[in-house]
Amino acid sequence: MSKSAPNTSNPWLFRFAGLTALVTFLLIGLGGLVTSHGAGMSVPDWPNTYGYNMFAFPISKWVGGIFYEHTHRLLASAVGLLTTILAVWLWLADSRKWMRWLGVVAFLGVIAQGILGGLRVTMHMDSLGVFHATIAQLFFILLCAITLFTSRLWLELAAGKKSSFVSRSLRTLVLGTTVLIFIQLIIAATMRHQHAGLAIADFPLAYGKLWPATNPDAVASYNARRVSVTDEAPITAFQIKLQMAHRIVALVILLLVAACARQAWLRLGPTDALTKLALFWLALMCAQIALGAATIWTNKAADVATAHVMVGALSLVTGALWCLIGFGRSTSFPQTQTLGVFGVQTSMLANK
């Protein structure tokens, strides 16, 4: 890693990558609002908007669901532009070959993501929305990783200036938890893009039970009692089971993240940056579960459900960044006493 690392950091490149990641995060939020408001098909054409060039669509016509879908498209265009600039900048300014190609991957990713979003509209395929939402999460991780790789922190890690060994078991635990969060987000995207509203309307119980009945009569009864302003499609037994899976996986993730934080505390010490990051991760998970409950208690209020989506994205990227830093600190660096990643004194002794 040290061989291909640049000798000096480029703070403006780092800031620009961070800006692109931040705008992408906002775009995920806006995408969440589009789905939460059921507005994904409110602009029937693409790439035009009601026959207009999308950038010339009059503001006076940004009404109802059109507002969410159109602003999502505009912000997506901004992310596309920022990503293109970032890719060109990386290609010209970064001496690391793999970083240049990472920029190219980001560029291709944003193009693919834009086309996927467009096809979801023109082909009337709700199922494409699941892929669109999932790729958005991966793209966000990629931009955050690029931001990390262009940071002074990473260059110092690569130069072996700052490192403290992170044990394989801890790294594996965090990686496994992060993968599970990603699976959880796919489950969530599947639930949201079926446009069936809440498959289970109560929490912490489910239709008043620990495990709800899902026989045909019970499902018919649930559907008969559902009175919703937006009259979502009738729920199915599969959707009820999917939400139960989402709840169970959420609990498992919470326990796993708590275990990660505890292990980081014990092995790296309470002041290590990765311990602090793990504690932040745990706080995010607690907030996420509270938001999940609030999503149900508010009957899937759009702002609450969208906050749930955004904190989910943050949870995933936090785990991913932890993994990158953890693996970066433990692969090619000497296992001697040194500074922690954020300049905090740490010791190998803490790892034992």
Partner: protein, 233 residues
Amino acid sequence: MKTFSFFLLLASLASGPAVHAADITGVITFKGAPPAEKEITPIMDDPNCSVSYTKAPLTHFYAVNAKGELADVIVSLKGVSGKSTGASAPAVVIDQKGCLYTPSIVAIQTGQKLIVKNSDQCVHNVHDKPTVDGNKESNDVQMPGGADLTYTFAKPEPFLKFQCDVHPWMFAWVTVIDSPFFSVSDKDGKFTIKNVPPGKYTVEAAHRKLGIQTFDVEVKDTDVPANFTFEAK
């Protein structure tokens, strides 16, 4: 003259007994308390839509009158298909008025025209979402004062959803049937399936929320009653 009368009688006997169609009529009632309807509050947040209202209108999933009679139930003959006269039947019209579909529950035959109008002073997108192969999904823009949109569906499908994504509280449900033998219960719960040929049939009553009930009848040459009672689940 006698010769003419003789041949007339002969022709009449040769054609066999006369076949008379009859109507199947009935009333749909609802037993129990329906779930409370909800106020469509987002409609009041939209300046184009709120002008039609002084207070938020209610959803109307359960159109039950004071006598417990239930509207918006699709009553049809189960298993009767391939008899559509939709191509020559008059078009059914749904209007978008006050940012709501009126009516929101209709039934048409395969091949019959469904016309969607826009009486509002705002844009709507008319998005139909069939789930049966052979019925095509579309998503059309309808500007204020724009031309009517016309839809036909080739395959039978219960409760095919039409929605407006600009105003996500707007929806209509169109049941497509492969015969002319159906009816939608009115505000008094009454329905009439007209001109049913003699024979044994299963009459099916379908409510969007309450599911399906069936009733076996035999049609001869007089009208046949068929009443249904749905219960709260």
